[in-house]
């Protein structure tokens, strides 16, 4: 736990991760970043935003943006099902919802179970992957959620500027 709070950049931390499924891959986010998990809500679309930016929702009186992680990772968009969840994470000082196929569990991943991200070749951005965790026989992609979402911001600014 100590290591998680230390917040050393680029270092892979052992600790508790919330795992979730996207397509047939399993991902993990540091549990400390997660505020809550909610079902699907009415989303208000905001115009002139990239397609992964689904819009905004009313989270008990707060208006927060929602991102479809499938679209963010350039995967095929899927019909939302009963299992579809919005994970509310805290990035910087703001809350952001991310839509995932389903949430699996909270798992402890020890440092000995974490491997560095292998180089996947050119064109595949692994910048926001902190590492790969091994849990039982599954491989879990550990996301640096700050990077995933702040990058999104940059892209959006660029996209708007390009218009």
């Amino acid at each position: 736990m100590e290591a998680v709070t230390e917040n050393i950049k680029n270092a892979v931390h052992a600790g508790k991760y919330l795992t979730f499924v996207l397509s047939d891959e399993e991902y993990g986010i540091e549990i400390l970043k997660v505020r809550e998990i909610i079902g699907l809500m009415d989303i208000t679309t905001v115009p002139q935003t990239p397609d992964y930016m689904k819009g905004v929702i009313n989270l008990r009186g707060k208006v927060i943006p929602v991102i479809d992680l499938r679209l963010k990772f350039s995967m095929q968009e899927e019909e939302h099902t009963q299992a579809t969840c919005t994970i509310v994470v805290e990035v910087g000082n703001t809350l952001i919802g991310i839509i995932v196929d389903s949430v699996s569990e909270v798992s402890d991943i020890g440092s000995e179970e974490i491997r560095e991200t292998p180089n996947l070749g050119q064109g595949i951005d692994t910048n926001y992957i902190m590492g790969m965790g091994k849990l039982k026989e599954k491989l879990i992609i550990l996301l640096d959620i700050d990077k995933v979402l702040s990058e999104g911001e940059l892209e959006m600014v660029e996209e708007i500027a390009a218009n």
């Binding site: 917040n7 009415d42 208000t44 679309t45 905001v46 115009p47 002139q48 935003t49 930016m53 819009g55 905004v56 929702i57 009313n58 008990r60 009186g61 707060k62 208006v63 927060i64 943006p65 000082n93 703001t94 952001i96 999104g152 911001e153 959006m156 600014v157 708007i160 218009n163």
Partner: protein
């Protein structure tokens, strides 16, 4: 801790050695930061008022106390630089309040500079704390700590302290602060601790015991009488001697306590009343009663001795009462704005839930239930109003900052300017207050630097040599008006017009009213300055001022008369948090158009719509041709209503004039609480924010100027 002072003075390049960990004791640091800021603001305004008016010892005392508190707390936290500087400033103030040195312009300047430096030190700490708590990242350039050389200030103060500035006639006037306090009875401890020696004081104690000594800030009866010239200091001292021990006696006479307890309490060197009340020996009312009797005694003694007449005592007592009640009124609780915002959001949800239930109950038709519901609605509304009003703050601090600014600018430009402030108690939403300071700074700088003429010019024109700038605030019709008025040379109509024509802002033929011409100064690229001075005219023009004010949904206007002066009028909404809006829908999406931007809405006839080059559309409204923005096309929304004469055209007015917006339907008028969409959507054109609508969904607020811009870009 007590040897810190000596240690501090010996080290030249002292670095802060924090005694506490910022992360672990973040609350102490945050409280310290906010307290220091309050102390500094208060001291600054007190110093400025000393400069303006006759030297008031109560004010110097207040400054001394503030600086002393800062020193104590800084010492406790190990902020050596802050402690050193406040120590020196405190030493200077101590001499001033004892009348050992005369308050000169130099002392006022160095005090203000020292306060600026303390403020910088505080800001640096604030950045450090923010960084430590992870509120800002290390890379943010805008929040770098600024280096401050406090030695420079310390040297200047030391040279004043060592100088042969002998006390002048002020000495005779000066009175002993300790003895005045004694009168209250609250402050018996001051009796034995007159003129507290700075160096003997424990710096650490003050941080928390501050609150206890607040009472001493009241003005006491004796002091008022001296101020009014009714009695002299000696007479007062004598009267005190006779009246002094009365509080114990009164209490014993009343049977409230025993002599032993009084004795013990006196030994403890705390305000006697306080100790007795704390121990539960006497009740608060008993204490108050006794204090009242004691106060009367002082007055009585004075009357008996023929020193003062009963009327004078009465009026002095009234003054005292008024001052006390003023202090009571300003008693406030500090609340973290985050908590307030949360409360805000929750109340908003409560209102929505209430609306939803009311809607459901309408179909049920139950008399008593609907009666109860309307009661609930009323209470909810009241809660909402109250919560809204909690964000309101007075303009006092902002205006005080302005007086410092005017002072600095006028000194810099060598002009003699008298600055008046009225309506500083006017309340505005906290967010508005934060944003309004910049435009005010700009306008005031301009008024002093460009508006007010030099002394010779003024005399030549037959004006008083002292220029005057007035800053006032007041309510008018649901808005707050802030007015900046100067009696300077006024705006030069011809020059502005010529410049505007040169810049191609207006054509030569356009006929304009005087006011329209004056308001051209808010156009980009039009500076009225003859020359660029080091104070103003550096390219940041009045257009920025107008932009900032419009961001606050306000308006700015200028009127002027050449040779007589100019008046800037800023009109602001009371709060930024709520707007009146019309809810419209396009397909499934709901938008809110602010009512202030709407001119009218109508269903156009087929013949009123025409296309230009088969692309652009215009709508003819009573002869006026307005371009038509199809919201569904612009924002790519699916809707079945694509034929203008089956939909609604809302005529809105943006910064670039009027145009029509095509929407499906009008859903009704609603007051909505504005929620920011956050940084992620700041580049979305045409959307200024969002609001939660009656059904719990989020609606987007249209910014009509932005919609037009997006539309023009879109085409």
């Amino acid at each position: 801790m007590s040897n810190l002072n000596t240690e501090v003075q010996n080290t030249d390049t002292a670095n802060d050695e924090l005694t506490l960990d910022i992360k672990e004791d973040s609350e102490i640091f945050l409280e310290f930061l906010s307290e220091v800021l309050d102390h500094l603001d208060e001291s600054e305004s007190n110093i400025l008022s000393i400069e303006d008016e006759v030297c008031d010892y109560e004010k110097i005392n207040a400054i001394f106390r503030s600086i002393h508190s800062i020193k104590g707390s800084a010492g406790f936290l190990g902020l050596i630089n802050m402690q050193r500087l406040s120590h020196e400033l405190e030493a200077l103030l101590d001499k001033a309040r004892k009348g050992e040195i005369t308050i000169t312009q130099e002392i006022i300047n160095i005090s203000l500079n020292a306060i600026d430096a303390l403020r910088k030190l505080r800001d640096n700490l604030s950045i450090k704390v923010d960084r430590e708590l992870g509120n800002i990242s290390d890379t943010e350039v805008s929040t770098q700590e600024q280096p401050i050389n406090i030695q420079e200030f310390i040297d200047r103060i030391t040279s004043i302290l060592n100088g042969d500035t002998k006390p002048k006639e002020m000495v005779t006037e000066s009175h002993n602060t300790g003895s005045v306090n004694v009168l209250s009875g609250h402050e018996l401890q001051e009796n034995t601790k007159q003129n507290p020696e700075i160096d003997n004081m424990e710096p650490s104690g003050d941080f928390w015991s501050d609150k206890l000594s607040e009472q001493s800030e009241k003005m006491f009866l004796g002091e008022i009488l001296i101020d009014e010239g009714t009695i002299t200091q000696e007479q007062l001292d004598k009267a005190i001697d006779e009246g002094n021990k009365k509080i114990g006696e009164i209490l014993i006479e009343d049977g409230a306590t025993t002599p032993e307890k009084i004795e013990k309490a006196l030994n403890e060197q705390k305000p006697i009343g306080q100790i007795l009340a704390e121990k539960g020996d006497i009740s608060e009312p008993q204490l108050d009663n006794a204090l009242k009797q004691q106060e009367k005694k002082v007055g009585e003694i004075l009357v008996e001795k023929g020193i003062a007449t009963p009327d004078k005592i009465d009026s002095a007592l009234k003054t005292q009462q008024a001052q006390r009640s003023m202090k009571l009124q300003s008693r406030t609780v500090k609340v973290d704005t985050g908590k307030l915002d949360n409360l805000f959001d929750l109340v908003g949800e409560l209102v929505i839930a209430n609306t939803l239930i009311c809607g459901e109950m309408k179909s049920v038709n139950n008399n008593s239930a609907s009666k109860n519901l309307s009661q609930l609605t009323k209470i909810t509304k009241d809660i909402q109003d109250q919560v809204m009003s909690m964000r309101m703050v007075t303009l006092k601090q902002t205006f005080q900052k302005m007086s410092r600014l005017v002072r600095d600018v006028s000194q810099h430009s060598g002009k003699n300017v008298k600055f008046h402030i009225t309506g500083e108690e006017t309340e505005l939403d906290k967010n508005v207050i934060e944003e309004i300071a910049d435009p005010l700074v700009h306008i005031l700088r301009n008024s002093v630097d460009h508006g007010i003429e030099s002394e010779e010019d003024r005399l030549a024109k037959g004006k008083p040599k002292e220029g005057s700038v007035t800053l006032s605030a007041f309510h008018r019709g649901g808005n707050i008006i802030i007015e900046i008025k100067d009696d300077g040379k006024g705006l030069q109509k011809e020059r502005i017009l010529k410049k505007a024509v040169d810049k191609g802002l207006v054509s030569k033929q356009t006929s304009m009213t005087d006011n329209q011409i004056y308001n051209l100064i808010f156009a980009p690229g039009l500076s009225t300055a003859d020359k660029v001075t080091n104070i103003s005219g550096r390219g940041v023009g009045m257009d920025v001022v107008r932009k900032n004010i419009e961001k606050l949904r306000g308006k700015v206007d200028v009127t002027s008369q050449e040779g007589v002066g100019s008046t800037f009028t800023i009109k602001l909404p009371l709060t930024l948090a709520i707007i009146d809006g019309i809810v419209v829908n396009v397909g499934d999406t709901k938008y809110i158009i602010p009512t202030v931007s709407i001119e009218e809405s109508l269903q156009p006839k087929r013949e009123e719509i025409s296309t230009v080059k088969n692309q652009g559309e215009v709508v003819n409204i009573r002869g006026n041709l307005l371009s038509l923005v199809r919201l569904h096309k612009l924002y790519d929304i699916n809707t079945t209503k694509t034929v203008p004469w089956e939909s609604i055209v809302v005529v809105v007015e943006g910064a670039d004039g009027k145009y029509g917006v095509l929407v499906d339907e009008l859903l009704g008028q609603q007051q909505v609480v504005i929620k920011s969409l956050g940084d992620r959507f700041k580049n979305v054109k045409g959307i200024s924010g969002s609001a939660i609508l009656g059904d719990g969904k989020v609606g987007l607020i249209l910014d009509v100027t932005g919609v037009k811009e997006a539309f023009v870009g879109h085409n």
